[in-house]
């Protein structure tokens, strides 16, 4: 992203104090990660740093336990469903917000962004009552809908910005060449906003994988996400399995980010 950002020499070659500060900040951000990964491979029976020896016992305990695996599976279902819902709704919302002019535009934009300022716990409690009333409490769908609401503001902002970057004359050109409105969207707009859709989708997926409050309220015995499982586990005792789970989450995030970047680089036309 930053490759085409031009800056002055002073910005490109900062002085020593700035460099030191930057490294301290980076270390501060990375420290937990750098500690948790070695701990997850520890041969000790309790949380200790540095680990006395290498062992995969905690991964065995994590991946060999059907409760943990079930939680991962629920999280994957919830995150996927939430990402798909988010992307579809946010794209459909961004099109009129960017492309047309209507009188209630500001109001609707505000409503779409509202979940950002409402505390998640309020959303969770509200949804809990609604889903309980219609008998959908404790389902994967309920959690996915909750997560969709939570990530919607960011997704709408990302997709609106992406769509803004696509010249609307391209859609006009497509129509002048014989494409219907839908064909123009399908063949021109959609491929051009694909990077935004992928970013928003990945963001929704990862947010959902991490988020605790919504599944805590809307989940149940049959829909326990990984985050809830971790929460329940640390409530009882803190042992290195948690480090293994965390390492798994970090690896998943890094993997998805790298994949998204490779995908972006594979495009020759951009």
């Amino acid at each position: 992203m930053g490759s085409d950002v031009m800056g002055s020499d002073a910005l490109l070659n900062p002085g020593l104090p700035v460099r030191v500060f930057a490294w301290i900040m980076l270390a501060f951000l990375m420290a937990p990660v750098l500690i948790i990964i070695p701990v997850s491979f520890s041969s000790a029976q309790y949380l200790s740093f540095p680990p006395p020896g290498f062992s995969l016992q905690w991964y065995e305990r994590f991946l060999g336990n059907k409760d943990w695996l079930a939680a991962i599976w629920v999280s994957i279902q919830v995150a996927t469903l939430s990402a798909v819902l988010t992307v579809i709704i946010a794209t459909l919302a961004a099109i009129p917000l960017v492309r047309s002019d209507f009188s209630r535009k500001t109001l609707i934009y505000g409503l779409l962004l509202a979940p950002m300022i409402v505390p998640v716990i309020i959303t969770a409690i509200a949804l809990y009552f609604i889903f309980a009333r219609i008998g959908m409490g404790g389902t994967v769908i309920a959690i996915a809908i909750g997560h969709t609401i939570v990530v919607m503001p960011i997704a709408v902002v990302v997709l609106s910005a992406t769509l803004q970057g696509v010249d609307s004359r391209l859609e006009n050109a497509a129509m002048s060449l014989g494409a219907s409105r839908f064909q123009a969207f399908r063949r021109v707009t959609l491929p051009l906003i694909a990077p935004g859709i992928i970013s928003a989708g990945l963001f929704a997926f990862l947010t959902s994988f991490d988020e605790l409050v919504i599944p805590l309220f809307l989940g149940g015995p049959n829909a326990q996400t990984l985050a809830v499982r971790i929460w329940n586990s640390v409530m009882l005792e803190i042992e290195p399995t948690i480090a293994a789970v965390s390492t798994f989450l970090i690896a998943l995030t890094v993997l998805i980010m790298v994949a998204a970047n490779l995908l972006k680089k594979a495009r020759r036309w951009a």
Partner: protein, 390 residues
């Protein structure tokens, strides 16, 4: 189907009292225009004159407030853009960045469900026509501006539309490339026999390519005619000023003889004697004096003869084939309104005869001054249906 089109060629376009009004703004106020089959019509005007709005109404991206758009005698005003079958070349080309040159040009054929094999053939032939053979695999960003322009043209012509609409298609190119593309474009239009409506603000471009020029100003048509009509016989001072360089000397008609001789007084107290019909004493007019029609000489003799203004050279510009003198004719400091521009052709190796500060006399003959009403757009009216609201 396709061979019928080959025979038919271009088709006539007629605009009938076409209006576009917004809440508090009239973009196009009731224009009538007829463009013959296979003609190259340039719509010329400054920004905000309504020329692009008019083009976008023909293309179908702007809905007319009222009026008819007839292509081959059929009103297309209510059709969506994709049903109009018109080729459109946009400003900045609007090429699809994610598609190769080949796929860009194939796009309209794919939309028309043309068989795969025929698509390949027609795209290749079209790319040859615009001299881009072999570049089908490139992406638009890998092409130069001129090449991108050709791709846009190929894409707009490959489905053999009988009308091609162009919105300042050469605006982003440098001058040299622009003039070579102008000649190519004109030749291609002749060869493919397509009716072209070409919007530009560049009068030189209009003169180079057009069979017919329409000058727009303030949402109205100022004049519609051949390039010669517009340059030699402008209908208004606006057209005269827009088509090439001219001195517009504004004044008031003091006397109009029966034989058409007018006496026009300039605010500086100087006088123009000219011939024109349709004016009477008291009219505000502008006399158009083309720089190349004025002659410059030393102010000999005690008294100024008819149509000779004395002044002082304010600036001299060497043009290569000619010399341009700015002559201040005002009493006070030289303002633009009181400066006459004279373009004197160089004869042989003769060098500039006058230099800055010299006292000179500028002369012209009665027939070189064209007397014009200021502009048509000065009298703007609202469409009948909305007249009460404003």
């Amino acid at each position: 189907m396709s061979h019928i089109k080959d025979v038919t060629g271009g088709t006539p376009i007629v605009l009938e009292s076409l209006w576009k009004t917004y809440a508090n703004f009239v973009a196009v106020s009731g224009i009538d225009l007829s463009v013959g089959a296979g003609r190259f019509c340039t719509v010329l005007g400054p920004s905000g004159s309504g020329k692009t709005t008019t083009l976008m109404m023909i293309a179908g991206f702007v809905a007319p407030t009222r009026g008819r758009i007839l292509v081959s005698g059929r009103d297309i005003a209510a059709l969506p853009p994709q049903k109009r079958n018109l080729g459109v070349v946009f400003q900045n080309y609007a090429l699809f960045p994610h598609l190769t040159v080949f796929d860009n040009v194939a796009f309209p054929l794919i939309m028309r469900r043309v068989p795969q094999a025929e698509i390949a053939q027609r795209v290749e032939r079209m790319l040859e026509t615009v001299e881009l053979a072999g570049l089908g695999g490139r992406y638009p960003r890998e092409l130069s501006g001129g090449q991108q322009q050709r791709v846009a043209l190929a894409r707009a012509l490959v489905f053999e539309p009988r009308v091609l609409l162009m919105d300042e298609p050469l605006g982003a190119l440098d001058k040299k490339l622009r003039s070579s593309l102008q000649i190519e474009l004109k030749a291609l239009q002749r060869r493919l026999d397509v009716t072209v409506i070409y919007v530009t603000h560049d009068q030189e471009e209009a003169l180079t390519m057009a069979d017919q020029i329409v000058v727009m100003q303030g949402g109205r048509i100022e004049q519609n005619g051949t390039p010669e009509d517009l340059y030699d016989r402008p209908a208004t001072a606006f057209v005269a000023g827009f088509m090439g360089d001219t001195n517009l000397v504004r004044g008031v008609v003091m006397a109009a003889d029966k034989d058409g001789t007018l006496r026009i007084d300039h605010p500086t107290g100087r006088r123009i004697i000219a011939r024109a019909s349709g004016f009477q004493a008291g009219d505000h007019v502008a006399a158009s004096l083309r720089p190349e029609c004025l002659s410059i000489e030393s102010p000999d003799g005690p008294e100024e003869p008819e149509n000779a203004w004395d002044g002082r050279i304010a600036a001299v510009t060497y043009l290569g084939d000619a010399i341009r003198y700015h002559v201040a004719v005002g009493e006070n400091r030289p303002t633009l309104a009181e400066t006459l521009v004279v373009k004197a052709a160089r004869r042989g190796t003769e060098h500039r005869r006058f230099s800055e500060g010299d006292a000179v006399r500028v002369r012209w003959s009665r027939s070189d001054a064209r007397v014009l009403p200021p502009t048509r757009a000065d009298a703007r009216i609202l469409p009948p249906m909305q007249a009460g609201g404003h």
